[in-house]
């Protein structure tokens, strides 16, 4: 029974028709005359990052990382994490979860009844979760990390230029 008075804008109700979800792999041509395009039989759908990163579209969420606690696992501030809620949470996996209301990304380790969340940065300490006293809820397992490559600062650039200068053949 719906718990509301206002009508829902129809734009927010989407009918799902699985029969319409058909990717068309080959290019159909209506060319009647002339030399046929020899590549036509080989035309395929262009590669799509979504297909690579997202296994369960209905259970996948994107989360932005903040802070440097996972820097050794290549998760930098501003990295976009692809989080799959359909996967099983196992010890050793990187997960996104809420601990007492705060959203965090850490490595999950189960130790008996205790859950421990390990950062991957030597400057941070692990987080102990007590099942009775702490509020703990898992969003999902991190399956991909999307980051921009780090930029060189002026010193690194200068070092590189110096290297070229000193090693260049006279």
């Amino acid at each position: 029974m719906i718990d509301t008075l206002d009508p829902i804008p129809p734009g927010n109700i989407w009918a799902i028709d699985p029969s319409e979800r058909v990717p068309i792999p080959f290019y159909l041509s209506t060319v009647q005359a002339g030399f046929p395009n020899p590549a036509e039989n080989f035309l395929r759908q262009r590669l799509n990052l979504q297909d690579l990163c997202v296994q369960h579209p209905d259970a996948t969420y994107f989360v932005e990382a903040a802070g440097e606690s996972m820097i050794e696992d290549y998760i930098y501030p501003g990295s976009i994490l692809v989080v799959d809620a359909a996967l099983l949470v196992e010890s050793g996996k990187i997960i996104v979860c809420w601990v007492n209301g705060a959203c965090t990304v850490k490595r999950f380790v189960r130790y008996g009844k205790l859950v421990v969340l390990f950062p991957s940065n030597a400057h941070y300490t692990p987080l102990y979760i007590h099942p009775e006293t702490d509020q703990f809820l898992v969003l999902g397992v991190v399956v991909r990390i999307v980051s921009k490559p780090p930029r060189w600062d002026s010193d690194q650039l200068k070092t590189a230029q110096d290297y070229v200068r000193t090693h260049r053949r006279e």
């Binding site: 509301t4 008075l5 829902i8 734009g11 799902i16 259970a59 932005e64 994490l81 959203c103």
Partner: protein, 429 residues
């Protein structure tokens, strides 16, 4: 076998899905302009907050019980709803989204080998939705849609069933229907309920076992007969996989503040008409009949003396010479109408539009005295829709539409659009 899946306290559950610190606390969601309560968590129900209650009446309750308030975030609710509907296709081939938080499914008998029982299938659905979307659902199974509705209600009201109720035998049907009040039955409104009660029918079981089916037909039309047959286990309402296009389209939202002047009202009218045209194009239709209405706030008191303020409301309909879904075509007629209706000196709360006489785009008739609608104009509408879909709502719009209007809605405690806007996604440290 039919099933009805429904999310408990949908809007509040969606807020909790991305903010688990709301779990266990009383939470309410507010409707347009944060005026009144449109969803309550169980905790909020327990402290006595009523459905549809205006916010100002419950200020003390909110203070006293630390009730958490959420403005309605339909972007989030809509996305979670579509994820739910799509997820259900993993369990059943046929899914009919019935409302934002409800869906009918049809389970073929071939599934019977895969799941140990309907009870087990229901539990599997509940567990999956809880893990993937963090939403609590109830599942009801029955031989017909009406029985599935009854089963779902039982699953909701009887905690010992753990959210899944199956009506697949005469005994289970008798048990569920015998204490099921007739007014809660799907398709029975308050009038039919009163009429049936007067005739001694108070439970769904009594309606099912009614002796004289013609008596039902006389009083409740053929729909009543269908209802009785559905209760007896003969499906009369089938799954509507492809919803038929709408016959009427309406947009009427209250302003965030009261508006006295023509300029802002015409602007709101333009924006609402633009929405209506988008809706028309989405279902590939054209409309011809426009009704414009506007009114003041009927609950407003005059500041100072506290007497009820002077009220004004008016509406007018016009028939265009041709069918169209092109915004400027509608505006040419709607703006003079609103100029005509408007009386100066009042503060208006709402302006609204209703479109009627809707026909499919492909079956329109050419007007006798006009060449409209212009094919080019219809094509432009489609292009604008595609651009706005890609670059954000109202990125391409008429110059007369304000982008950040003064009258826009009040949404004091809106949560983020976690799943539909890159700038608003969840942050994890």
């Amino acid at each position: 076998m039919y099933g009805l899946i429904d999310v408990n306290n949908m809007y509040v559950s969606c807020e909790r899905s991305f903010n688990p610190s709301l779990n266990g606390k009383p939470v309410i969601a507010l409707g347009n302009n944060d005026h009144c309560v449109i969803a309550r968590s169980q905790e909020a129900k327990n402290v006595g907050i009523k459905m549809g209650q205006p916010l100002f009446q419950i200020r003390e309750l909110i203070e006293q019980h630390q009730v958490q308030i959420c403005s309605s975030n339909f972007e989030l609710y809509g996305d979670l709803s579509s994820r739910l509907m799509s997820l259900l296709t993993n369990f059943a081939d046929h899914v009919e989204p019935y409302s934002i938080d409800e869906a009918f499914v049809q389970i073929d008998t071939s599934f019977e080998g895969i799941y140990p029982s309907y009870q087990g299938l229901g539990s599997a659905m509940r567990d999956t939705v809880a893990q993937w979307l963090r939403l609590p659902i109830c599942v009801g199974f029955g031989l017909t849609k009406t029985l599935a509705k009854v089963a779902n209600k039982c699953a909701k009201t009887r905690p010992e069933l753990e959210g899944v109720c199956v009506i697949n035998s005469l005994e289970s049907a008798n048990e569920a229907l015998s204490d099921f009040k007739i007014k809660d039955l799907w398709g029975v409104g308050s009038r039919y309920a009163a009429m049936l009660k007067k005739n001694g029918i108070e439970t769904a079981l009594q309606l099912r076992d009614v002796g004289d089916i013609d008596w039902v037909r006389d009083r409740m039309t053929v729909n009543g007969v269908r209802m009785v047959y559905e209760l007896r286990g003969y499906p009369c309402r089938l799954l509507e996989i492809n919803a038929p296009p709408k016959k009427t389209i309406c947009t009427a939202m209250s302003f965030g503040q009261l508006i006295p002047d023509l300029k802002n009202i015409t602007d709101a009218l333009t924006t609402y008409l633009a929405r209506c045209c988008e809706k028309l194009r989405r279902q590939e239709s054209l409309a011809r009949h426009v009704t414009v209405f506007l009114h003041t706030n009927p609950n407003r008191k005059t500041p100072g003396n506290g007497l009820p303020a002077k009220q004004y409301s008016a509406s007018r309909s016009i028939r265009l010479p041709h069918h169209t879904n092109h915004l400027p075509d509608f505006l040419r007629y709607a703006i003079p109408v609103v100029e005509n209706l408007l009386q100066l000196g009042y503060n208006y709360q709402k302006v609204g539009i209703i479109l009627n006489d809707i026909v499919p785009e492909s079956f329109r008739q050419q007007g006798v005295f006009s060449d409209w609608p212009d094919e080019k104009a219809l094509q432009i509408g489609k292009t604008i829709d595609r651009l706005n879909h890609r670059y954000g709502r109202d990125k391409v719009r008429l110059a007369s539409q304000l982008y950040q209007p003064d009258w826009s809605q009040v949404q004091g405690s809106l949560s983020q659009a976690y799943t539909t806007d890159w700038k608003q996604i969840l942050k994890a440290s």
